[in-house]
């Protein structure tokens, strides 16, 4: 994609990132406050282990999100508050404990419909600073544009020249003076959040909150300090101001949004928020078609960036933590590992692997009587560095990683194996280590080249296969010449928190629990 005025854009981004102003703005509405409180209370009495009440909880979440995040008047047809309330009431009135609070909720919603002026919208209209350089985030949770008319309509009557941001791509298209977020940021992917707050895409972020909503800044990872640069760096600043008064949740020390978000997550995902035996760390990605999958942490995904010019389309390897709302993922259906093996085998990978990893059976044998932690400790004593050696040992033993990443680690591993008599003594240990190290590097080279070749093959064929399509269509499966099928899926949301799931759930694309329920 051709970038216009890259330097001037970068200049603005550095200036913005040096000092970002984040303004929490309280929007006073007693009717909304009443609805929020009723939603919280009703959520509190529902038993989400019961399927019927679980569905009701989801509908309640949806109603709440629609009230919080919309810019439409509360009586608008697109928002459909009356219909949503009616559906909830039909179910909730069958639960004795919920009747009273449901009536309060109904009163609140009716208030909103009778006095439909949306105060977040009114604030927007009354604060028209540089509208053409202002962005408004519309995709607030689970890939949903709450309260926005469906389709690509003309929103100028509603928001003037303000630019709508419904994906990271829309955000990255320009630099803003101001970005308005009509609610909390609980549902933003890590990348979306970073793009808004840390990449200098805007000078000011205005967060509009009703009483009862709570916004909190997320921490950002910092580089470890080095003596060479100590005292010479100038920290970027975030000036965070708030005119928010304590709300009902703050009185209780509770962040309702966070609580409800976690409860809804439990309802809709077949995973856990805490580690457990046999569970793997993963991140959940929800697609716009309502399906989703758990992707192991540290996995890279193929992100397809389409361009009007075929040659400029790219297929990028993106770490799962960086996948964001609006990205198109090329999901490889079937066994690409097999294809990679085939390409690698042509380059003599298997034979080389046997030669250079001849220490693996010895490591397996040692791990029968010693734990990885014990072996790691001995390796450290033998001069190895690294804080995750024990974890690495498992990967080396099961072959998911070919071996140590440094010569020093390899030397200490071989030393430990020799000292336990799992490998024969070596007259010339230096040469023995060097030979194995060179072999490992060649092995990695073969795999790297095979991976690159396969990646370029997929990219080329995907570009060809899509060249006849004016726009990328959701769930389009593309069959490549090598038999592989690739499906393009657009990301609706990415969990910013890790979850833990059994192996069988990893990379398994299926409808979110309960089917497509949002929107």
């Amino acid at each position: 994609m051709k970038t216009v005025a890259a330097f001037q854009e970068t200049m603005v981004r550095f200036r913005n990132a040096a000092t970002v102003r984040v303004r929490e703005i309280q929007v006073e509405s007693s009717s909304v406050a009443l609805v929020l409180k009723a939603c919280r209370d009703l959520f509190g009495v529902l038993d989400r282990s019961d399927d019927f009440q679980a569905i009701l909880s989801r509908r309640l979440w949806e109603l709440r999100a629609s009230v919080l995040f919309t810019m439409l008047p509360f009586d608008s047809i697109e928002l459909g508050l009356a219909g949503r309330l009616q559906t909830i009431m039909n179910d909730a009135m069958q639960i004795p404990a919920a009747i009273e609070v449901t009536n309060i909720l109904a009163k609140g919603i009716h208030n909103l419909i009778e006095h439909p002026i949306n105060l977040k919208h009114r604030w927007l209209v009354e604060n028209p600073e540089h509208p053409d350089a202002t962005g408004l985030v519309t995709m607030m949770a689970m890939g949903q544009n709450f309260g926005w008319p469906s389709g690509k309509g003309d929103f100028s009557e509603l928001v003037g020249d303000v630019q709508l941001i419904d994906s990271v791509k829309a955000l990255a298209a320009k630099v803003f003076d101001r970005i308005i977020i009509p609610g909390t940021c609980h549902y933003f992917s890590a990348r979306m959040y970073s793009e808004i707050f840390h990449l200098g895409r805007t000078r000011t972020v205005d967060v509009l909150l009703y009483q009862g909503e709570r916004f909190s800044m997320r921490d950002r990872l910092n580089l470890p300090e080095s003596t060479i640069f100590r005292g010479r760096l100038t920290a970027s600043r975030i000036i965070h101001t708030s005119d928010v008064v304590l709300g009902m949740d703050d009185d209780l020390g509770v962040d309702t949004d966070d609580q409800i978000k976690n409860s809804v997550w439990e309802l809709t995902h077949e995973g856990h928020r805490t580690p457990g035996p046999g569970l793997h760390a993963a991140r959940y990605i929800l697609f716009k078609d309502g399906r989703g999958m758990f992707v192991p942490e540290n996995t890279h995904m193929l992100v397809w960036s389409e361009s009007n010019n075929d040659t400029d389309s790219t297929l990028e390897n993106v770490h799962v933590e960086q996948v964001a709302e609006g990205d198109w993922l090329a999901i490889r259906l079937g066994d690409t590992g097999r294809l990679l093996d085939l390409v690698s085998a042509e380059a003599g990978f298997g034979k080389k692997m046997e030669e250079v990893c001849d220490w693996r059976p010895a490591l397996d044998a040692l791990m029968l009587t010693y734990s990885p932690d014990q072996i790691a400790k001995e390796m450290h004593a033998n001069g190895a560095h690294g804080i995750s050696l024990a974890h690495s040992l498992r990967s080396w033993a099961d072959g998911t990683v070919y071996g140590p990443g440094t010569q020093n680690e390899l030397r200490s591993l071989l030393n430990v194996l020799i000292s336990h008599r799992k490998l024969p003594n070596q007259d010339n240990l230096d040469q023995y280590v060097m030979d194995h190290w060179k072999g490992l590097k060649e092995l990695r080279g073969i795999r790297l080249r095979a991976g690159m070749s396969l990646h370029s093959n997929i990219h080329h064929q995907l570009a060809n296969a899509l060249s006849n399509h004016a726009v990328t269509s959701e769930n389009q499966a593309v069959r490549l010449e090598n038999g592989m099928q690739v499906q393009l899926c657009q990301v609706a949301a990415v969990d910013d928190q890790l979850s833990w799931v059994p192996h069988s759930k990893l990379l398994y694309l299926q409808a979110m629990r309960g089917g497509r329920w949002q929107g």
């Binding site: 200049m11 040096a18 990872l221 080095s226 060479i228 770490h319 690159m452």
Partner: protein, 323 residues
């Protein structure tokens, strides 16, 4: 921020983008300095691992690359001499241009002629069609009139651009020898997404205040990908790393970072934007930090006293077998 005295840049650098003149902001100065520093600090038996996390790295690798060239030019001594040519073994390939002549020549060193041991014979293998297959005899005088290199000469356009780079160095107050630019060997490689890298430089010009700016792309004296012609910087994709050795490797972006262990020698400068600095990378850098070597003060040139906001940098000195 001002460039440190040791960089010897005497005159301000200015930029022009889409016809608009712009002064060089502090963050860009800092990135040029960073490339300069990483290339300049060559430690016996050790390597420098530097990581910079930035709000945007769109142009960072280019600025760091430029700084790296300025350092290389300043450190340069020698160059390809008449004696070097005379000492090349028979059959060696040699490349040259004749200023003012549009042809690029390639030839093979032949026997020293019996009648004059002060001449070097070269069989022309590529060049102007009428010359191919003939033998030329070079004297010290003729040698000094040509631009010789042990690497294939770049195209005419790039040759002119490289000449202009020497002019730019001069305008900045640098004392860069002409032989630096024509001597084989690169100062650094940049591992990046090549399309984006070059696109970002498309409309950008750079120069010294009051002089005609050059295309930024040209000032990098760079060869792209598998182009093996003479260059001072190689810009490659991740798939091409394993073929290269370099005094400095600039890994531009998260994708490039993932190949850090494929860099077997030389210093490494990693450039990431803030979204790319994820937990797995953080852990890898902590690992590196744990095996870093303590360095006595004064071994490395001091960084500027105050780097501009937005740049987060860490640096470690590593044993040679680790990155």
């Amino acid at each position: 921020m001002e460039f440190p005295e040791y960089m010897a840049i005497r005159h301000p650098i200015v930029l022009r983008e889409e016809g608009k003149n712009l002064s060089l902001p502090d963050w860009a100065k800092a990135e040029i300095w960073l490339g300069w520093w990483c290339r300049n600090c060559q430690l016996e038996g050790k390597r420098l691992l530097v990581v910079a996390v930035l709000p945007s790295r769109k142009l960072s690798a280019a600025f760091a690359g430029l700084g790296c060239l300025l350092a290389g030019a300043k450190q340069f001594h020698g160059g390809f001499t008449w004696d070097d040519l005379r000492n090349l073994p028979e059959g060696s390939k040699i490349f040259w241009n004749i200023p003012g002549n549009h042809s690029r020549y390639e030839g093979e060193i032949g026997k020293i002629p019996d009648w004059d041991s002060n001449l070097v014979s070269v069989l022309i293998t590529r060049g102007a069609r009428r010359d191919v297959g003939t033998v030329w005899y070079f004297s010290a005088q003729r040698f000094s009139e040509c631009l010789f290199s042990e690497e294939c000469m770049p195209t005419q356009r790039r040759t002119i651009a490289m000449d202009n780079v020497l002019r730019l160095h001069g305008e900045l107050g640098l004392d860069t020898k002409a032989s630096w630019i024509w001597t084989a060997g690169t100062e650094a490689q940049i591992v990046t997404n090549q399309t984006k890298f070059w696109d970002n430089l498309d409309d950008l010009e750079i120069g010294s205040k009051g002089s005609n700016p050059l295309r930024f792309e040209d000032t990098l004296c760079a060869a792209k990908g598998n182009d093996r012609t003479l260059s001072k910087l190689r810009v490659v994709s991740v798939g091409q790393i394993h073929e290269q050795n370099s005094l400095l490797t600039i890994l531009d972006g998260g994708d490039s970072f993932d190949h850090v262990q494929d860099i077997e020698s030389g210093n490494v400068l990693i450039l990431l934007d803030r979204t790319e600095y994820t937990m797995d990378k953080h852990n890898q850098i902590l690992d590196a930090c744990n095996s870093a070597i303590e360095l006595s003060p004064g071994i490395l040139p001091d960084p500027p006293a105050e780097l501009p906001p937005g740049l987060e940098i860490t640096a470690f000195v590593m044993p040679n077998d680790r990155t």
